[in-house]
């Protein structure tokens, strides 16, 4: 299974980032062989609109089954949901590795819907 973590850096030691659509990178862990892959999301930092949708598309195209992030807006959730990706939220201000730990321990709640409102402009 592949799990994507939103992050501002490009390794497991990098800070975990709570924003989904506008994080710099996704650290994707494949738990079958513990391999780590980095998915770039920087093109979304300046998107005028639809950053969450594009981020969701980026992780979907990387073949992930789960996303761990801080918050997720309605459009991003809808997109992830359509791709069959589960979303877990993590309040951690630590590293991606910390978030991964919490995920493995089953401490992270799974989102059933968007937990922040979209912003239109």
């Amino acid at each position: 299974m592949k799990i994507a973590f939103s992050s501002s850096g490009d390794s497991l030691e990098s800070p975990f980032e709570s924003r989904f659509g506008r994080c710099r990178k996704f650290i994707v862990l494949n738990d079958a062989d513990d391999s780590v892959e980095v998915v770039d999301n920087t093109q979304n930092l300046n998107a005028a609109q639809g950053a969450g949708i594009q981020a969701a598309q980026n992780v979907a195209n990387a073949g992930v089954q789960c996303v761990v992030s801080g918050h997720c807006g309605p459009k991003a959730f809808m997109t992830l949901d359509a791709a069959g990706i589960k979303v877990y939220t993590c309040e951690s201000r630590g590293s991606v590795a910390d978030a991964l730990d919490a995920f493995k321990k089953g401490e992270l709640p799974q989102l059933a819907g968007a937990d922040v409102n979209g912003h239109w402009q």
């Binding site: 998107a47 005028a48 609109q49 639809g50 950053a51 949708i53 594009q54 969701a56 598309q57 979907a60 195209n61 459009k75 809808m78 997109t79 359509a82 791709a83 069959g84 239109w120 402009q121």
Partner: protein, 283 residues
């Protein structure tokens, strides 16, 4: 001739001024409420015949799933991130769509057709020589310029004469859409630091789109003189100053106009609009 009334922020008295201008001219005049997210001009107009309404639609893509192979070409093409292609499914977020029509043209499978989506409505009525039309954006519709452009088109072809456009506040796309066809722009501001800050941004925007403009200072006796100094330095004419008046606040809350509350403003309004018309004719 089209005169747009605009301001860098809301609550400066844009609507109050637009309505007062429309009511102070004797000739045929049209008042267009382009503040489609919060239209309120009609609340201040005298009794009128029932409003005629029409709906406004924009084309948005619809994907026929039986033809689509989720190749993702449409999602890559769309500059507005309105399409997500997920390999197993392709989603359209029509509220982000700017109706450019491009995705339907480039889809290699011909899976995309355009469908009309309702974005709002336009109401109109007449009171004597005054024609009014105003748009109301549907709740949850984030993109207003197409509706604003329709409002601008709603003056009956047979009418010429002055058109006054109450523009949306701010300086982003909706405001630019509303003032884009104007021959002249009146910027309303207040003599406060915030007022000055927003006025500067509005002036920059108006200069960029090269529209002749002047400034009206509302509640002119309530703040400091920095707005005047700024206008002086920039060579921008201050066409009118409207004093702060308790009467005005009361009138506003009762749906009455500036002319009800401050009849003494009428000559100033008339001469301002006449000057604008004269200036434009001399060109």
């Amino acid at each position: 001739m089209k005169v747009a009334v605009a301001s860098g922020k809301g609550g400066t008295g844009k609507t109050t001024l637009s309505v007062a201008l429309a009511l102070s001219v004797e000739e045929p005049v049209s008042l267009l409420d382009c503040d489609v997210e919060e239209p309120n001009c009609h609340l201040f107009l005298p009794k009128h015949e029932p409003m005629q309404t029409r709906e406004v639609f924009v084309p948005v893509p619809h994907i026929d799933e039986s033809l689509c192979d989720n190749c993702g070409a449409c999602a890559r093409f769309c500059q507005f991130n309105a399409i997500a292609s997920l390999g197993v499914k392709t989603l359209v977020f029509s509220d982000l769509c700017h109706s450019c029509g491009g995705c339907a043209k480039i889809c290699p499978k011909g899976a995309i057709t355009e469908m009309d989506k309702l974005i709002g409505k336009i109401g109109s009525f007449r009171i004597g020589e005054l024609f009014f039309a105003g748009g109301t954006l549907d709740v949850g519709q984030p993109i207003s310029p197409p509706l604003i452009k329709e409002v601008l088109k709603s003056v009956p072809g047979s009418r010429d004469g002055l058109v006054i456009v109450d523009s949306p506040p701010g300086t982003s796309c909706p405001m630019v859409a509303a003032v884009s066809e104007a021959d002249f722009v009146i910027l309303v501001t207040e003599p406060t630091p915030f007022g000055l800050h927003d006025l500067k941004i509005a002036v920059e925007t108006i200069r960029e789109i090269r529209k002749p403009h002047c400034v009206v200072i509302n509640r002119c006796d309530s703040g400091d003189d920095r707005v005047e100094q700024y206008c002086d330095k920039q060579g921008i004419q201050i066409a009118l100053k409207i004093p702060d008046s308790r009467n005005m606040a009361v009138a506003y809350s009762q749906g009455k106009t500036m002319l009800d509350a401050m009849p003494e403003m009428r000559p100033g309004l008339e001469s301002m609009i006449n000057n604008v018309i004269l200036q434009q004719k001399r060109k």
